[in-house]
C-alpha cells in the first residue's frame, strides 16, 4: 500500500473522531517503491484539505504531510516532536478556531459529504503535471487555484454546510449567516439554489428553512 492510498476521507475521519492533528508521512517524492508516484497524490490531497480547512475556519496547521525514508529515524523523531508541540500549542480542535464541538462536527460532516464531488473536481480540473513539492505548493497558493477553488468547491461547501446545519434544526437566514460567517444576502442566494435543487424548503409556520 502506498501513501497515495491516504484518502481525503481518512484525514477528515481522524478529525471527526477527535484527533487534534493528523500527520501523513510517505516516501521521498520521486523515489517511488511502486511506479505510480502516489505520494504526489497524497501531497495534492493534503494541500487541498488544508485549503478546505482554511475555508471552513479550521487551522490548516493541524494537518501535516512530510516525506522521508525508513532510514531517517532521527528526522522522523524531530518532525514528530515538532508537530506534537505545534498541535499542543493549538490545543483541542476548535480551541484556537473558537468553535464548539457541534459546529466542528457539522462542518466536517459537510466536507465528508462533499468528498465524492471533490474527487470529481480533482480528476477534471486538478490533475497536476508537476514533479516537485515546490511546484505543488506554488500551485495551491496561486490565484489560478484560488479561482478554481472558489468556482468549483466553495459553493458546494456552503450548501453542504447549510444542509448539515438544517439537519439539526430549522434555521432562519440570519441564523445560518451567523453560523457560517456569511452575509444574509449570500445565504439567500445559496438557499435559493438549494431549494431549486430540492434540498431545502421554507417552513412557512416556523418562518424558517428546513431540509426538504
Amino acid at each position: 500500500m502506498c501513501t497515495g492510498r491516504v484518502d481525503l476521507s481518512y484525514i477528515i475521519r481522524g478529525f471527526s473522531k477527535g484527533a487534534d492533528g493528523v500527520f501523513v508521512v510517505g516516501c521521498h517524492l520521486n523515489e517511488c517503491n511502486y511506479i505510480t508516484h502516489g505520494n504526489f497524490h497524497a501531497l495534492s490531497t493534503a494541500l487541498l484539505c488544508k485549503k478546505i480547512f482554511e475555508y471552513i475556519g479550521l487551522n490548516p496547521e493541524r494537518l501535516m504531510i512530510k516525506f522521508m525514508s525508513g532510514g531517517e529515524g532521527i528526522l522522523f523523531t524531530e518532525v514528530m516532536n515538532e508537530f506534537d508541540k505545534k498541535v499542543k500549542e493549538l490545543g483541542p480542535l476548535g480551541k484556537v478556531e473558537g468553535m464548539d464541538a457541534n459546529t466542528i462536527k457539522s462542518k466536517l460532516e459537510a466536507v465528508t459529504k462533499l468528498i465524492p464531488y471533490i474527487r470529481l473536481v480533482e480528476r477534471e480540473r486538478l490533475r497536476l503535471p508537476y514533479k516537485t513539492k515546490e511546484e505543488y505548493e506554488t500551485f495551491f497558493n496561486s490565484d489560478e487555484f484560488n479561482k478554481l477553488f472558489n468556482e468549483l468547491i466553495v459553493e458546494k461547501l456552503i450548501i453542504s454546510q447549510i444542509t448539515a446545519l438544517l439537519k439539526e434544526e430549522p434555521l432562519s437566514t440570519s441564523n445560518i449567516a451567523n453560523a457560517l460567517g456569511l452575509t444574509p444576502s449570500e445565504v439567500s442566494r445559496h438557499i435559493n439554489t438549494s431549494s431549486r435543487h430540492g434540498l431545502v424548503r421554507y417552513d412557512v409556520e416556523q418562518k424558517r428553512y428546513a431540509l426538504a
Partner: protein
Amino acid sequence: MGAIILSSGLEPFDPKVTDEFGYGRFQNVVTSMDYERLLSATGAYEGEVLRASDLKHPHKIAWIQCVGSRQVIEGGNSYCSAVCCTYTQKQVILTKEHDAGAECTIFHNDIRSYGKDFEKFYERTEKLPGVRFFRSYVSIGKEDPVTKNISIRYSTPDDGVKEEEFDMVVLSVGLNPPKDAKGIANKFGIELNDHGFCKGTPTNSMETTRPGVFVSGAFQGPTDIPESVFTASAAGSQVGELLDYRRGDLSKERIYPPERDVSQEEPRIGVFVCHCGANISRIVSIPETVEYCKTLPNVVYAQEQIFSCATNSAKEIADVTREKGLNRVIVAACSPRTLEPLFRDSVREAGINQYYCDMANIREHCSWVHAKEKEDATQKAKDIIRMSAARTFHLEALQEFDLPVDKRALVVGGGIAGMTCALSIAKQGHEVYLIEKDTALGGIARRISSTLEGLDVQAFLNDTISKVYQHPLIHVYTGATITEGTGYVGNFLTKVKSDRGNAEIVHGAAVIAIGADVYKPTEYLYGQDDRIMTGLELEEQIARKEEKVMNAQNLVMIQCVGCRNEDRNYCSRICCSQSVKNALTLKELNPAMDIYILFRDMRTYGFKEDFYREAANKDVRFIRYEPSDKPEVKVVQKKGQPVLKVIATDPILGKKIEIDTDIVALAAAVIPAASSKEVSLQFKVSLGPDDWFKEAHVKLRPVEFATDGVFLCGTAHYPKHITETINQAYGAAGRVLTLLSRDIVTASGSVCTVDENKCVSCGACITVCNYGAIEFYETPEGRKAKVNPVLCKGDGVCNTVCATSAIQLKHFNDEEIYSQIDAAIGDL
C-alpha cells in the same frame, strides 16, 4: 553430493595482536564489534551504551579507522577491509539516536563510501551536530587512572599534534579470513590467496581452485552485505549449472489442511504477544498487554510467547488457533515485512485463510523507539493492538492466483553482465533471448583492455561472446530496441525490433543489464584540447600505444570529475582503481614518466589497496584536494607553444603547486544509461534518486526488483568492477532460476476489485494506474472498470480517485482502515 559451497564468512581483526591500541588493557577501549553489541537491544546492557569501567554513558566517543587494515605491519593486513568506513558512520548515527548530545569523533584515512547510496550516508553523518571527521593517524596515549578516560594523540593541519581525552574509544577493526581458513582449505583441497582468503579465478570469484567446490560471501575477501548476497545467489546458480538435472529431487510438497469457511462465523480473534527475547519485553509489559487484549471486542484468546517466530511457537499458533476455534489471528511482534509470510503459513496450517492474519508491530514501532518511556510504550503497544483488532474484525478470506510460468528468459543488454547471466541461465536448460542495442555484443567492456588485477579483458570478452553465440539455447538479437513491454511474472510479452526484424518474445523472467554511460565532462577544458581526455580514453590510448601518451614526461589524473557533487551525489566507485591501473601500466611502459593523481579520497577498497600502495612505491604522486579548492587546468602560451598546466594545492606543503603536463586524464563519472527511464517504464520497475535501477531491497534483495519476475545486474544497478558485475550477473541468474524452475507462481490476493454496481465508468482509476492493471470491459449494464489481479501491485492509488468508491484494495479497504482510524482515536 555433487557440489559444495563454502560460506564460512570472516573473523573480525583482533587488536590484541599488537599492543598499539591498548585493547584488553584499557577497559574503555572497545572494538566496533563490541560496540555493535552495546548498541543492540540484546547486548550486555540491553541496548544502553555504557562504559565497562563505571557503567556510565560515554559522552565523548572516538572511532579509530583502519585498525588492522591498510597496514603493512606484523599481524596487520595490507588490504582495505572495505566495510568499516560505512559501518562506523552507521554506529555514529545510532549513537546519536541513543544520545542526541553525544560528541562523536572519527579519525580516518580516506573515507571509502563507494557503495550505492553510501556517499549520501557519509554526508548525512558528517552533518550531524557534534560529529567531527579528522583525517589523521592517531596513537592511543594513556588511560586516566581515576576517570578511566583515554587520551588520543592526533595531528591537525593547523595546530600540529594535539592530545584529547575521550570517554570511550571504538576501534574500527577490519575483516580477517575465517578462523582456520587453512584447515578449511586443506579439508576441501582448495587454495588460499596471499591474504589467506579463498582463491578465486579472475573471471569467477565463486569458483575455487577445485572444480565442484564454490565459495560465497566474505571468504572471498572483505565484502559487505549486498555483495555477499550476490555471491551467495551466484554460487547457487553455478551449482545449478552442475546439478540442474537433479533439481527438486529432494523437495517435498507442503500439504495444508482444507480451508474452513469462517465468513459466516462471528469473528473470534486470538492475539499472540511476542517478547522477542527481551527486545519487546524489557520495555513493554507483556503480561499487562496480554490482559488488555482479552478486554478487546471479539478477542477471545490472548497469550504471550518468547519468540513467536521460533518453530515451536509458530506451531503453537497453529495448534491454539485450531483448539480454541479462532478464526482471526493477530501476532503482536515485529514488522510484517520479514515475518508475515511465516505467520500466514501458521494460520494456513490451522485451516484458516491466510489473510485472516494480521501483525501488530510493537517492536520497530514501539519498544525499539521508546526505550526510555516504558509506561507510555506499554500504552502504545495496547493502542497498536487495539487498532489491529479493529481491522482484523473486518478481514476477509482472499484467494491467491496460481500463474503458469513460461520457462524462457529475456536478458536486456549484451555486455558482460547480460552475457554472463544469459550463459548461466542457458546452462541450466532454459532458453534465453539476449537483446543488445548495439550491432555487436560486449558493451562498455569493449573499451577496457585489462583489469587492475591483470585480467586480459578483450580475451575474456571474445571468449564469452563466442560461448554465447555457440550456446544452442541463447538467441541473440543485436541492433535491438524494445517497442513494447507487457505482461507479468511468468508471462511477459516483449516486442523487439532488431537486425533480425520484428519479434514478439514470450518469456517468464526478464533481466535488466543495460549497463551505464560515461559522463562527458564539461569541466577542466575537456573537449577543448586533445591532450585532455577521460580515464577511459587514456586507457584506450595506452592500449593503442599512442605516441602522445607513451612519450609524455608528465601526466596528471584528476579524480571525481562529475560526481560526488551536487548534480551527482554518489561515488562512481571504479575510477580510483582505474587511475591506479593506468598509472601502473604507464610506469611499466615508461618508468621515467612523472604521474600525479589528484584525488579527494582514494577508494581502492579491498585487495585493490595493494595496487594503490604499489603505485605510491613506484613514485606515482598522490595529491589530495578539497572539493572547495579544486585543481585548475589551463593552457598558457610559452615560447609560442600552448602549454598544459595544472594548478592544485598541496595539502602537505600547504601551498599552490603548478604542474606543466603533457596529458590530463579526467576520472569521469559513471552515469546511468540514457535509456534507463524508457526501460524502467517498459518493465514497470523503478529508478532510485540518481536514476540507477532500484533493487527490491538494498541489502537483502539486491538483484531483484519489487516488480515480480524482473531482475537486475551489472552497472545498471550501480557502477561496479568487472568481477563484481560477474558476481551480480550469476546472482541474477540464480534468482531467475528459482522462478523459472517452478511451474506456477502465486500472485497476492491483496489487490483491487471493482464493485460494478457502483462503477460509473469514469475511467479515473484507469488513468492513475501506471501498471495498466485496470481496463474497461462491456457488461449488460454498460462499460465497467475491471482489475487484472495479476498486474495489480496493491498500491491503492486508484481507490482515492474513485468518486463512488467502487474500486477497493482488498485487505486494506475503506471499512478496514476506517475501523483502524476509529480505534486509534476512540479510546484516548
